[in-house]
């Protein structure tokens, strides 16, 4: 039993020992497995840390390489090359070379400011050191403390060696320096240095990692020194400025940290060199993240002892097994994670590279946009979604005078907009904001000094990355000038389009680019027809080529040409236009176009031609008139003066034209003048000139008169051609011409005087019997002046009472009594004495003084008749009426007024008219006569038989009396023809119910014959001469007494003694008395 028990105890012990041994074996196995697991974990962690560190070192190495290359390129820049070339040319620093240095420095400055990494400049300083180590060009960042440059080791370092990454300590600050040599024409000329701060290196390549780890990398430079950043200084012990001698790249090195407890005071450092440099990165693994690189062995020892303890407490085996299982699972998981971490690290590296590139690109974009923002010559404005100013660019500051710092955060619309527009624009802004839209608009802003600027805006809402509205971006351009210019152009365009003159614009070659509506109106060419063609389409070929030559010369010289052109419309019609053609210039002052204004002056030119013709030519004959005569005469005189020859001026006056005009009518007179003009012109040389001065007066200029006889010959020919019969209205008319001739320079050297002298000569020719010519003589001038004197005296004769009426009785032989008297005008001039009616009646008619004188005569005669009647002397009274009076429009009114005024019985008044006064215009004369007859007065035709009596008219005239002219009475006793005429007149009158009066009866024979043929009344010196009114009653009594004395009829009454002069006077009275 005992043995069984012992056996059992033995087996139990064996079992327990076996179990214990089994447990120990299991524990050993588990401990070993855990050891292996921890070793694997250590390797993974190391791999990860080393990988990260290598990646950073690689990035840093890439940065170094890139900057080396960049500065190597910069060292070869054209500016530096230019400097060395100029230096090689011998240029001095004072004169030229300094400019090259400035240009180089300008380039370095630009690079220093624009070469950026992560939005910050890479280089704090870029400088060029010449071969002797002197600083040539230097661009330094402002705000840094750069020590005075003098014998700096960095300047001497390197010399002609290749590019290098160095360190430079200055004022206690260590900087990284990238150095690259420069060669010119194969010779070393200096080095380009670029300074980079360690801070920036840490910031860009290291600190992003250290933020999470709290253990930043440390940069090792020159392969032995540690650059400890501020963030690491608190961890690493003082004096740790050098790399431990026994540290090996990639091998974890325990590093005792500063101020930590014993459990956490050691960190492992991994050293990773930076490729192609004397730099390295040292990465630390913090205690909290590290696996203790000694623990697996320690674990082996301790867990062995522990296994014994576990044997004792086998119950712990299960838990140990469980933990082992967990550790195994953890290990597997760690392996998976290791793989995942490795994968993620690769992805992260790729992403970092992409992000880096994107960041660089983004930074470039930002730099570009910033540069654009600062330098753009347009307004860039950012408002928040409340309309408050966030920022704007310097251009707006410049044009508005508002500084951004002063108005940032203020309401845009209140500060910048005109008060009256602010609210409306704010609403527009709100609408844009609310609708998330972009829009184009124009509105004005007000500058700080109150000036209003018109701005063209392009606005767009701004959204943040999440699409939320944050404000409005506005780009604006100042279009104040453009708007003003456009408005100005619009006005000009409207003005041109609606111009009252035709406008066309051509290019330099003359090709039409524009025509306005008036152009089409005037020329007939539509704009489609005209554009693209040359203005030659308007040429008429009537404008001289010299005009166009002048035109082109003028406008190509840049001046304005003005002148008249004869153009042709589309329908072929030629018209005058006044053209103003001027060049148009561009901003540079170059001529680009020509603009032409064409005013249609056709009507004006026609009017001018008409006016000129009216002004200088006689409308009836087409001959030059008096005005043109003066011009031609002056020209002829000048020509004569040059040639030493003479000019003859002939004044012509048609004799009896007035009579013809009066008797045949004005139309006949006009035809006669035309005939005469043609005859005169046909007679003269080509360069002689015939003018019509008016009425029946002509003038002729004869050039180059060698001798006076030539003028006389011409005058004789003129008289001859004028005297040839003219057939007018089937009637043959004969006129004669009187001519006065004055010679230049003999008679006058002045045109007006010459004309006056010709006129005087003409007067003389007329005075001397007409149908002749006279040369001017000085005495003629005196006579002419005498005539002027008489005319002046006559004008005053009426008012000064120098005129008087004499009365000559008309007797009736059958009734043996005086039946009436004829009133005859007398002028006893205070200056000239008793004037012959011959000398002043015609003058009175020519000067129309006959109108007031005639009225005076009529009134005086009527008053006298009434006065005689009151005295018991009942006589008819005859008053002569001149043709001028007869044709005066107020004749009827004047006579009616005088009748009413004087109280004369109209039937006692007889008006004597000459035939010529009546037959000129018979219809008109008949009407006047009828009106006179209606007044009750009698009408007598004076001098009947001497004019162009028209018997047919005679029967229509309400005439009472025919007076037989004295020319028929004079030879009555001896001329059978005169007797026949006298008889015919008496018979005619008798047949028409008229009375007859014979004038100029001077002899008893005449009286007897006239009595025998039945003449009713006789008037003449045989019975009485004209006597003043006061003498008449006695004379009448005497005549009656004579009739009472048988056989006394032949005897002249007393006071009727006839002298030769009186005979003439009597005849003149009969002819001229009016």
């Amino acid at each position: 039993m005992k043995s069984v028990q012992n056996l059992l105890r033995l087996w139990s012990k064996i079992g327990a020992i076996s179990i214990g041994l089994g447990l120990v074996g299991a524990i050993v196995y588990l401990v070993f497995a855990q050891y292996r697991s921890q070793v694997a974990l250590q390797k993974t962690a190391m791999k990860q840390v080393t990988y990260d560190s290598e990646r950073r070192a690689s990035t840093l190495g890439y940065f170094f390489s890139e900057q080396r290359d960049y500065l190597t390129d910069l060292a070869e820049c054209s500016e530096l090359t230019g400097y060395f070339e100029n230096k090689a040319l011998g240029m001095s620093m004072e004169y030229g070379l300094q400019a090259s240095v400035l240009i180089v420095t300008e380039r370095f400055d630009h690079v220093r400011q624009t070469k950026k990494l992560g939005g910050l400049p890479i280089y704090q300083r870029i400088a060029f050191i010449d071969a002797s180590g002197r600083l040539l060009s230097d661009s330094r960042a402002p705000g840094k403390n750069w020590s005075e440059e003098h014998n700096r080791p960095i300047f001497a370092s390197g010399k002609s060696a290749g590019p290098a990454i160095l360190c430079d300590r200055e004022d206690g600050e260590l900087r990284l320096v990238i150095s690259t040599p420069r060669f010119f024409k194969g010779r070393y000329v200096g080095r380009l240095l670029g300074w980079v701060s360690f801070e920036d290196i840490y910031r860009h390549f290291i600190e992003w990692k250290s933020e999470s780890s709290r253990f930043p990398d440390v940069i090792v430079f020159e392969n032995k020194y540690l650059h400890i950043p501020p963030t690491a200084k608190r961890l690493l012990p003082a004096g740790s400025a050098s790399l431990p001698a026994d540290i090996r790249p990639g091998v974890p090195y325990p590093f005792r940290l500063q101020g930590r407890n014993s459990f956490e005071n050691v960190a492992y450092a991994i050293l990773v060199p930076v490729k192609d440099s004397s730099f390295a990165l040292m990465t630390f693994i913090p205690p909290t993240e590290q696996f203790d690189f000694r623990s697996p062995r320690q674990l082996l020892y301790t867990t062995g002892g522990l296994a014994l303890f576990i044997i004792v407490g086998s119950f712990l085996l299960v838990r140990l097994n469980t933990r082992n299982a967990l550790l195994k699972g953890h290990l597997e998981e760690t392996l998976v994670r290791e793989h995942a971490v490795d994968q993620k690290n690769r992805e992260l590296a790729a992403e970092i590279a992409v992000r880096q590139a994107a960041e660089n690109s983004l930074q470039k974009e930002r730099d570009f946009i910033q540069s654009l923002f600062e330098t753009a010559q347009v307004i860039m404005l950012v408002l928040d979604n409340q309309g408050q100013i966030e920022r704007f660019n310097p251009f707006l500051e410049e044009i508005s005078g508002h500084q951004l710092d002063e108005v940032r955060g203020r309401d845009w619309f209140s500060v910048f907009l005109p008060q009256e527009e602010a609210e409306r624009r704010r609403q527009d802004f709100q609408a844009t904001i609310n609708n998330y839209t972009a829009r184009y608009t124009i509105y004005s802003i007000v500058t700080r000094d109150g000036q209003r600027l018109e701005i063209e805006w392009q606005e767009k809402t701004l959204l943040d990355a999440r699409g939320r509205l944050v404000g409005l971006l506005s780009i604006g351009q100042d279009i104040t000038e453009r708007s003003q210019a456009e408005a100005h152009i619009r006005k000009l365009s409207h003005g041109i389009e609606n111009s009252a003159t035709a406008v066309l614009i051509t290019d330099l070659s003359g090709r039409i680019e524009y025509v306005n509506a008036k152009f089409t109106d005037v020329t007939g060419f539509s704009s489609e027809e005209a554009i693209g063609r040359n203005p030659r389409i308007l040429q008429s070929e009537l404008t001289p080529l010299s005009v166009f030559s002048d035109l082109w010369t003028t406008i190509l010289n840049g001046d304005v040409w003005r002148g008249e052109l004869q153009n042709r419309r589309k329908n072929g019609e030629v018209y005058w236009s006044y053209a103003s053609i001027s060049p148009l210039r561009d901003d540079q002052g170059e001529i680009t176009h020509f603009i032409g204004n064409l005013e249609d002056i056709n009507d004006r030119k026609n009017a001018e031609t008409t006016i000129e013709k009216l002004a200088y030519y006689d409308p009836l004959t087409g001959l030059p008139n008096r005005r043109l005569l003066q011009d031609r005469l002056l020209l002829a005189m000048k020509r004569s003066h040059r040639q030493g020859s003479s000019v003859a001026l002939l004044y012509l006056d048609l004799d009896r034209f007035k009579t013809i005009n009066d008797s045949l009518g004005h139309h006949a007179g006009d035809l006669l003048l035309l005939q005469m003009a043609q005859r005169f012109m046909g007679l003269l040389r080509n360069d002689d000139i015939v003018c019509r001065l008016g009425g029946d007066e002509f003038a002729i200029i004869l050039h180059d008169i060698a001798r006076n006889e030539f003028a006389a010959q011409v005058a004789e020919k003129l008289i001859a051609v004028a005297g040839a019969p003219v057939v007018i209205n089937e009637a043959e008319v004969v006129v004669t011409v009187s001519i006065g001739i004055a010679l230049y320079p003999k008679d006058a050297d002045d045109g007006e005087v010459l004309a006056k002298h010709a006129d005087i000569a003409l007067y003389q020719a007329k005075a001397e019997g007409k149908n002749t010519y006279r040369f001017y003589a000085d005495e003629q001038n005196e006579a002419f002046h005498d005539r002027l004197g008489i005319e002046g005296a006559l004008r005053h004769a009426l008012s000064s009472g120098e005129l008087a009426l004499h009365y000559q009785p008309k007797v009736c032989l059958t009734r043996k009594k005086t039946i009436g008297v004829e009133a005859l005008l007398r002028w006893n001039s205070a200056k000239y004495g008793a004037m012959s009616p011959l000398s002043f009646i015609q003058l009175a008619e020519e000067t129309r003084l006959i109108i007031p004188i005639g009225e005076w005569v009529l009134r005086t005669a009527c008053l006298q008749q009434v006065q005689w009647l009151q005295q018991g002397l009942d006589l008819d009274i005859a008053v002569n009426l001149s043709a001028v009076q007869f044709n005066h429009p107020s004749l009827i009114e004047v006579i009616a007024a005088i009748i009413a005024e004087t109280g004369i019985r109209p039937e006692r008044l007889e008006l004597e008219l000459t035939e010529s006064a009546l037959v000129g215009n018979p219809e008109s004369a008949a009407k006047i006569l009828v009106q006179l007859r209606k007044l009750g007065v009698g009408i007598a035709i004076d001098d009947f038989g001497t004019g162009y009596s028209s018997l047919s008219y005679l029967k229509t005239f309400p005439v009472n009396v025919l007076k037989i002219d004295r020319s028929f009475v004079m030879d009555l006793a001896h001329n059978a023809g005169d007797r026949a005429i006298a008889r015919s007149i008496v018979d005619l009158a008798g047949n028409l119910g008229m009375k007859t009066v014979a004038e100029g009866v001077e002899t008893v024979e005449q009286s007897d014959i006239l009595t025998e043929i039945g003449c009713d009344y006789l008037q003449g010196f045989l019975y009485a001469k004209p006597v003043p009114a006061a003498e008449l009653p006695a004379l009448v009594e005497e005549i009656i007494d004579n009739f009472r004395k048988p056989g006394e009829l032949a005897a002249a009454p007393s006071g009727t003694f006839l002298t030769c002069g009186e005979k003439n006077l009597r005849r003149e009275n009969t002819i001229f008395a009016s």
Binding site: L89, Y95, I103, V378, R482
Partner: protein, 298 residues
């Protein structure tokens, strides 16, 4: 719709093109400030020259005058002129002669209100015109083709001695100059040096190309133009040394426009104070600040 599209197109264009065109109009007489304000236009007489008036519608003086016109509230107008008649275009008088011996001989219509194109203030010009405060410094240099045998002088530290050195090199050599400009040979007594002076009829901008093209060995140039030439044709020309003392450029006004000149001086002071003048200078002469530090210091 078409109108809207047109406006949008225009807006797109002006986003790309910075600057605007000025409208030109007819011209009659020069006017003082009141006349300029009344007419609504400031007429800037200019001759394309260096970067003052480039001839392409911009330039330092063009921008300055555009800004001046804007400050007056009037439209800007550029009037192109030439060296032969620029004074006549401003004053309405034709002047004859050279150096300081000018005399007025003919009256003609003035075409502008002021001259600004890097216009050097010279004694004879001051006799017939008024000048603003200086707008830019200058000096006249002798410039030679790079392959010319003549060597640049070694500066002595004294300007008068340097000028003597340069003039001593001129004897018997062909030198380009230009009458009626700041490069008028009479101003620097070039004939007395024995130089074969050739007066160019072209533009000032054509002198440097002329020596490069072999038309002459040397020319005289003012400093701003020489700086431009050095940048444009690096290695093709060389600066020999100075011909003149320091000069200054300014804006010229008719004698009877004192108010306009005062207005410009006031405008210039304001621009120099607020930095806009420096911005314009930097745009067209970036090295000027370093080259003439005493002139540009505030």
């Amino acid at each position: 719709m078409g109108e809207t599209n047109g406006r949008r197109s225009r807006a797109a264009i002006f986003l790309l093109v910075f600057g605007c065109a000025a409208f030109q109009a007819g011209i009659a007489t020069a006017g003082d400030l009141q006349e300029v304000r009344k007419s609504g236009v400031l007429r800037h007489i200019g001759i394309p020259y260096a970067n003052f008036v480039t001839g392409d519608g911009d330039g330092m003086d063009v921008e300055l005058m555009q800004k001046f016109a804007r400050s007056l509230g009037v439209r800007y107008q550029y009037v192109k002129s030439g060296w032969e008649n620029v004074v006549e275009n401003l004053t309405g008088s034709t002047t004859k002669g050279a150096g300081d011996a000018d005399e007025t001989v003919v009256k003609t219509p003035a075409k502008g209100d002021l001259i600004a194109n890097g216009y050097t203030i010279l004694p004879w010009r001051q006799k017939v015109m008024e000048f603003s405060q200086p707008t830019f410094p200058s000096q006249i240099w002798l410039v030679a083709r790079a392959d010319a045998k003549i060597r640049p002088i070694k500066p002595s530290g004294q300007i008068d001695r340097d000028i003597q050195q340069v003039k001593a090199l001129l004897g018997g050599r062909k030198v380009l100059a230009m009458k009626k400009t700041c490069l008028d040979p009479d101003l620097y007594n070039l004939q007395a040096t024995g130089a074969d002076v050739i007066c160019s009829k072209g533009a000032l901008n054509e002198l440097a190309p002329a020596i490069i093209n072999g038309e002459a060995e040397m020319t005289i140039l003012d400093v701003p133009d020489a700086l431009i030439a050095m940048v444009k044709w690096p290695g093709k020309i060389k600066i020999i040394g100075p011909i003149s003392h320091r000069q200054e450029m300014g804006v010229a006004f008719p004698k009877d426009s004192p108010e306009l000149r005062e207005a410009f001086d006031k405008f210039l002071r304001k621009c120099r104070q607020n930095g806009s003048y420096d911005r314009i200078v930097k745009k067209y002469y970036p090295t000027a600040f370093a080259f003439f530090p005493d002139f540009f210091k505030k």
